[in-house]
Amino acid sequence: MAKPKAGKQLTAGRYTYAVLALVTIIAVFPLYYTLIIASHTNYQMAQTPPPFVPNASVFHNIRLALHEQPLFKAIVNTVIVAGSITLGTVAFCTLSGFAFAKLHFRGSRVLLGVTVATIAIPPQLGVIPLFLLIAKLHWVNHLQSVVLPTLVSAFGVFFMRQYLSNAVPTELLEAGWVDGASTFRIFRSIVLPIARPAMAVLAMLTFLAAWNDFFWPLIALTSRNPTVQIGLAGLGSGYIPQQAVIMAGTLLCTFPVLIVFALLGRQIVGGIMQGAVKG
């Protein structure tokens, strides 16, 4: 990313800060309000003015939510699913991105074009045969039915290719070749260390997407063996008299990821912007 020379950049005035502060509040307040609803009864929420400070009953409500839906199991399941998808995606996309960026092979341009074009094809529309397929394999309600279809992504391939074609000096690879190293050896000892920052960003984005995925897991899994989003959806559409319980469950399943996201925020922001410009 080339930043405009600092001297030329316009400096933010008072109004800019005011607008950005307002937008920040709108972005973050609903998340804070989740905490408030999660720690108050319906009766307390109906007071005028409504409460704006959370309290400790949120822990009691989290226990009630766990009683309604197997959310702990859902969290463990989702860590397994999202972890496997992340490992697979980062490994396959880095290899593939390296091949598209640096290796010479017949049809590479066409294959790359096809890869990018598939981003526009919505896989959600193929769920019916996909369901028939996993039913035939007796995978319904098993985690591999959620892992395998998203094990490698077109976006990831393209993202790694864009990064590696700029970041890895071809001279270095040629030097490795002259020394008699195999392609995979060159990949492991030269490309991989350079690729690490981009791999980290891809890993974060992939994990987040897998954690938040809803449509396909809803079809492939049941509430007996759910992922986090399926458990949450079950909590939200069941008959639960206290809203606090639903929000406590939402809190439990969302905040761990949000906190990690906020801590790694700088890298993720950089990654999203990199992916955008280099497109």
Partner: protein, 319 residues
């Protein structure tokens, strides 16, 4: 994807050029092995299911009896044509799509302009604006269903200061629930799209602004005559992505009413095409109808993407 290719106003430093060459001598057999996983996974779990969907849409397939399917020809499509709920879902998808996308992208553009100023705490603002994107669609919908609650929701409480009382967002008039759903989408995606625009803005050469400033252009004129035209490929890209997303909107209308049904509101006020498809297949066990819906959606999406790509090409051809 000419849209993607078009936005390659690459910001990388020029010395990279030399190293962008490929290694001529490195083995091509290895290369095929490295790119294979994507194509295998895409063929098995992307392309094959989509094509098979077309086959299912021409057959009578029942979820409870998968092995007996009978040829129906275009019957599923004809039935869809005569199904008022299909047209209702199509109308809802389009109207929710427009009110959730157009204001959102305009706001994102303005926001990106502000984020591009030199300021303190820039990382803080950017990360904060991305928090809704990190929140899952399920969690966002549940949270907003609370905020939009009729009797004790915070939004109605704020509105009552302005003399507006008890709007039944979650299950009332069509426009009310559709605005509420659009608000969820807008909340989740505005920050993300603002970052995409910001990235585009930062790769616009500063001399363009200097030239405009010398010609006496105001800040607003610079934004309108330098920034927006330079961002055109990026803007088209976000329009395509948002359109594809809007056509497939599912979780928000599925969970917003909180009644556990797939109707999208008591009078189907906000049943979208994806929700209608899911209802046909997994509530009514009529996979043929669901597949016909899926293929109709696919055609609409490809047509919209095609129109966008043609627009992009037409524009860049003229310039």
């Amino acid at each position: 994807m000419t849209v993607l290719a078009g936005s390659g106003r690459r910001a990388a430093a020029p010395p990279a050029r030399q190293s962008k060459r490929r290694v001529r001598r490195l083995g091509s057999r290895a290369a095929y092995a490295y790119v294979a996983p994507f194509f295998v996974v895409f063929a098995a779990f992307g392309l094959y299911p989509l094509l098979y969907t077309g086959w299912v849409s021409l057959h009578n397939v029942n979820l409870e009896n998968l092995h007996h399917s009978t040829w129906l020809g275009l019957h599923n499509y004809v039935a869809l044509w005569h199904n008022q709920f299909f047209w209702n879902a199509l109308r809802n998808t389009i109207s929710i799509g427009i009110i959730s996308t157009v204001p959102q992208l305009c706001m994102a553009l303005g926001l990106a302009q502000l984020l591009n100023y030199k300021m303190r705490g820039r990382t803080f603002f950017r990360v904060a604006m991305l928090m809704p994107y990190a929140t899952s669609v399920v969690a966002s919908t549940l949270i907003f269903a609370e905020l939009f609650g009729r009797d004790y929701g915070l939004i109605n409480w704020v509105l009552h200061f302005f003399g507006v009382h008890h709007i039944y967002w979650t299950n009332g008039a069509r426009w009310q629930s559709q605005i509420a759903l659009a608000a969820i989408v807008t909340w989740r995606w505005t920050g993300y799209n603002a970052l995409i625009y910001l990235a585009g803005m930062q790769s616009i050469p500063t001399d363009q602004y200097e030239a405009a400033a010398i010609d006496g252009a105001s800040r607003w004129q610079q934004f309108w005559f330098v920034t927006v035209p330079s961002l055109r490929p990026t803007i088209l890209f976000t329009i395509v992505i948002s359109t594809i997303g809007a056509m497939q909107m599912f979780a928000e209308p599925y969970l917003f009413a909180g009644d556990g049904t797939t109707n999208g509101g008591g009078q189907h006020q906000f049943q979208t095409l994806a929700l209608f498809m899911y209802q046909q297949g997994w509530t009514n066990f009529h996979l043929g109808q669901a597949a016909a819906t899926a293929w109709t959606m696919l055609f609409i999406i490809l047509a919209l993407v095609g129109i966008n790509a043609a627009l992009a090409r037409g524009r860049s051809g003229r310039n």
